[in-house]
């Protein structure tokens, strides 16, 4: 096999392994701040998967939104609840083993069903220009775009209403 392809495959498997191990770390550690960091790394790994599949725009947006904004929000929430960083707060319960068995069963069922569907795959991966995405958003997909904008405006107004002091 060509050495470069081998190196590329090694890199891709490394990205997958990084994502999975970060996600595993995020659910198993005790300290909740480390769990949040693990989640941030897992999301960055997902962005890496997007880059592997040549979806550049989506990968950049994933980093910008998830890691750059949503994780900040999550960490603010962790920070502002007091005493949550102490080691005395239990972040796991006593039913670990039944939960693990059930979730593994769920993963197996999902993977089997997903594998049975014949997905329509493209032969070669090409990266879509952002201009194309813009045209699609303003053309066939304009309704979801506008609904999402309205939802965001409603959320913003709701935040301002909640955050105002009762004067």
């Amino acid at each position: 096999m060509d050495v470069l392809t081998l190196i590329a495959k090694f890199g891709i498997y490394f990205i997958f392994a990084f994502t999975l191990s970060a996600a595993l770390l995020s659910v198993t550690v005790q300290n909740i701040f480390h769990a949040a960091l693990g989640l941030a790394f897992a999301l960055m790994g997902v962005a890496g998967v997007f880059f592997v599949l040549h979806a550049d725009f989506l990968g950049a947006i994933q980093i910008l939104l998830y890691v750059g904004a949503i994780m900040i929000l999550l960490i603010f929430a962790v920070m502002l609840t007091s005493h949550i960083g102490d080691a005395s707060v239990h972040t796991s319960n006593r039913q670990v083993y039944p939960a693990m068995i059930l979730s593994l069963l769920l993963v197996y069922l999902l993977v089997r069903q997903i594998g049975k569907v014949t997905w329509q795959l493209k032969e070669t991966l090409t990266s879509i220009d952002a201009v194309e995405i813009g045209k699609q958003l303003m053309g066939p997909y304009v309704l979801p775009f506008e609904i999402i904008s309205v939802v965001l405006v409603v959320a913003l107004i709701g935040t301002i209403v909640i955050a105002r002091s009762d004067s």
Binding site: D56, G68, G85, A130, V131
Partner: protein, 381 residues
């Protein structure tokens, strides 16, 4: 002049050719990928070291004193002395600190600072990777710096660090929105995110800064860049007389050196991006392209240092007011002015878009007039 312009490209081609004569093909590909990486890794930290020296001497001359001039002639070996000092300092870790977060934060904060060097066009055909989402990559990666600053603040287990870190994060996420929005007019006009194409769309001296929307966009983008780098006048989270030293209080020696280096690399890359988007990148009349790029970037860095020597710090509420109530609406008005400029013909488009910008600016100043500090009258007894 043509040879001087492409001297680095020819150098790289020569090295690859030399390697291709006796090495297998796949190794040649790896070497041709590694050459820009090694170039950046050599150029980056060395420039940062000498930027610290230039800053100290510039600030000193503004303040009527000499800067460092003992170590080597004109203080040129001072960064080496600083490096040796930081390497040999004792690494103090507080007992209650979160060991993993405290250890990882300085390492992780250098990663975004170095990663964005890949999309800056240093000259004609001299860009490490020509991504077709170049500027978006830059904006996304510099947004991840925020979470690592948080890690640094939390890992110190120090209330003042935490406070400084939260202020820094609030400042960075507030200034990211006008940062991105003031880069949008450039994307509208050129239709691409790629930095190489944006520079090629500003031939000769037709830079975007000479248009009304470009001028306002340049000012907003530059100010937000200064705020993103935590430089004066927006350095409330990390200045020496505030909150001890903000989020990097508990870090000493090499860890602090990494924070410092990441900050200066941020300064360089943000200036490089401002030059790329608004000031025409490497375009210019006579000199080679990479010299133009370096001149423009260094002029902007010197202006940032000039700001540091001139202005007092902005208070945290004034900072937030400035971002949300002034820069954000102004950048939205700017996008409108861009659209108008694009669709009308010259010279009408300059007039109309200039008018839109001036009206928007005046309206926002009028609306924010109570946030402006009143002019102080000093009466001496």
């Amino acid at each position: 002049m043509e040879k001087l312009d492409q001297v680095f490209v020819h150098l790289k081609a020569a090295i690859v050719h030399l390697a291709g004569s006796f090495l297998p093909d796949w190794l040649v590909v790896i070497i041709s990928i590694l050459i820009p990486i090694v170039g950046i890794a050599m150029f980056g930290p060395v420039t940062m070291m000498y930027l610290t020296l230039i800053e100290r001497k510039l600030l000193a001359r503004i303040q009527n004193r000499l800067g460092p001039n003992r170590v080597g002639k004109f203080g040129l070996l001072q960064p080496l002395a600083d490096g040796v000092k930081m390497l040999t300092k004792e690494d103090v870790v507080p007992t209650n600190a979160d060991k993993i977060a405290h250890f990882l934060a300085p390492i992780l904060i250098v990663i975004p600072a170095l990663l964005v060097f890949a999309v800056i066009p240093f000259g004609r055909n001299m860009i490490a990777i020509d991504l077709n989402i170049g500027v978006l990559f830059f904006l996304a990666i510099s947004a991840t710096t925020t979470i690592f600053i948080f890690t640094a603040a939390w890992g110190s287990r120090n209330k003042f660090s935490l406070l400084g870190g939260m202020r820094s994060v609030a400042q960075m996420i507030s200034y990211e929105i006008p940062f991105v929005l003031s880069a949008v007019p450039v994307f509208l006009i050129t239709g691409t995110f790629s930095t190489a194409h944006i520079v090629e769309a500003q031939p000769g001296l037709h830079w975007f800064v000479w248009t009304p929307w470009g001028f306002v966009g340049f000012l907003i983008f530059f100010l937000c860049g200064v705020a993103e780098c935590n430089r004066t006048p927006f350095d409330l989270p990390e200045a020496e007389s505030e909150i001890i030293a903000g989020f990097h209080t508990e870090y000493s020696g090499m860890k602090f050196a990494l924070f410092y280096m990441a900050e200066f690399m941020n300064v360089f890359t943000v200036s490089g991006l401002v030059v790329t988007l608004y000031l025409g990148g490497w375009q210019g009349p006579f000199l080679p392209s990479w010299i133009w790029f370096l001149i423009k970037t260094y002029v902007l860095i010197l202006i940032m240092m000039w700001f540091r020597g001139t202005f007092p710090r902005v208070r945290i509420d004034q900072l937030m007011n400035f971002a949300w109530k002034f820069l954000l609406p102004l950048s939205l008005v700017n996008i409108l002015a861009t659209g108008v400029w694009y669709y009308l013909r010259a010279p009408l488009n300059f007039l109309i878009s200039g008018l839109i910008v001036v009206i928007g600016f005046s309206f926002l100043m009028f609306v924010n007039r109570h946030s402006l500090p009143k002019k102080r009258i000093y009466r001496y007894a």
